[in-house]
């Protein structure tokens, strides 16, 4: 499974939304209805799934699903 597919799956299950409704441009807060604790939880899940560290200041800048995927891919390649 690609990073994108895994992220879509995690976002769908964490936020309780349909995978079909998720796009690269979806905003966690504005489109997918995440509240602040959802965001914290999502970061924890992604850190565990991809075995990476997402520092708080980096997490603050991630607003869309696409940005999250880009961050993860860069972190995995560094």
């Amino acid at each position: 499974m690609s990073v994108q597919e895994r992220v879509f799956e995690i976002v769908a299950s964490q936020l309780g939304v349909d995978q079909d409704k998720i796009t690269m441009e979806s905003s966690f807060v504005n489109d997918l209805g995440a509240d602040s604790l959802d965001t914290v939880e999502l970061v924890m899940e992604l850190e565990e799934e991809f075995d990476i560290d997402i520092p708080e200041d980096a997490a603050d800048k991630i607003e869309t699903v696409g940005q999250a995927i880009k961050f993860i891919e860069e972190a995995k390649n560094s």
């Binding site: 604790l37 939880e41 924890m44 899940e45």
Partner: protein, 256 residues
């Protein structure tokens, strides 16, 4: 039924796993044995694991399941290692009872930095570290019970206990705020405030002081550790799912 008998509270904790800190003696030991007797698997935690042998022996003799962990609750690595070990062993963590606590009484003008820091570190930071580590597991699981053992000293003043009172009142504020963070995830967070309970801590006060204390308690007696454990059993039970952010005071009416 007399006040001194103790009938078992009918609570079923089968299938739950729990961590109880400060479980080597007194109230913590009573909480751990009571939870195990209702079917919970209990990780008992204390600074010195050898002192937990008696708690584990009581639980196992009654057919329960317990595992002892030594831990310095003021150290992040030490706390996270316990939570990780429990997750490894039992694959989930349903109940956290933050009971570890110390007193270092002194009058404020002569209280040392150490006396202040030691009490705040163990009672407040210890609770923070354990709860942070446990809350991540509970949020994921969409279930959890966090029960903080505060004290009537967190509700009313006690001379010589500014440090202890501050820590115990702090636990109550923490409880209320966290309940608002985790409510949606079916994790409840509550505090229990024991009054004067028969323990080594209160035995040290001596008979004269105790006679004075009893005059201030409407029930006219000290509480038993089992009576605090019953409060924990209830808050940990499925029946308490709608109770969160609350303070249950068990003190024979002293603060009523």
């Amino acid at each position: 039924m007399s006040d001194n008998s103790h009938a078992a509270l009918p609570v079923d904790l089968n299938g739950l796993t729990a961590i109880v800190t400060g479980a080597s003696q007194g109230i913590g030991k009573s909480i751990a044995t009571a939870m195990a007797s209702r079917g919970a698997k209990v990780a008992v935690v204390a600074r010195n694991a050898e002192k937990l042998a008696d708690t584990v022996a009581i639980i196992e003799a009654a057919g329960g399941v317990a595992q002892a962990y030594s831990c310095d609750v003021t150290k992040r690595e030490s706390v996270e290692a316990v939570v990780d070990a429990v997750m490894e062993k039992w694959e989930k963590l349903d109940v956290l009872v933050n009971n570890a606590g110390v007193t270092r009484d002194n009058l404020l003008p002569v209280m040392t930095d150490d006396e202040w820091d030691n009490v705040i570190e163990t009672n407040l930071r210890g609770m923070f570290l354990f709860t942070r580590a446990a809350s991540k597991q509970m949020m994921r699981a969409r279930f959890g019970r966090i029960i903080n053992i505060s004290s009537v000293s967190g509700l009313m003043g006690n001379p010589g206990q500014t440090n202890y009172s501050a820590s115990k009142a702090g636990m109550i504020g923490f409880t209320r705020s966290l309940s608002r963070e985790l409510g949606k995830r079916k994790v409840t967070v509550n505090a229990i405030c024991p009054g004067f309970i028969e323990s080594d801590m209160t035995k040290a006060l001596g008979p004269a002081v105790m006679d004075e204390v009893k005059k201030r308690i409407p029930a006219q007696r000290m509480g038993k550790p089992e009576e605090i454990a019953d409060g924990v059993l209830f808050l940990a039970s499925p029946q308490a799912a709608y109770i969160t952010g609350q303070v249950l005071t068990i003190d024979g009416g002293m603060t009523g």
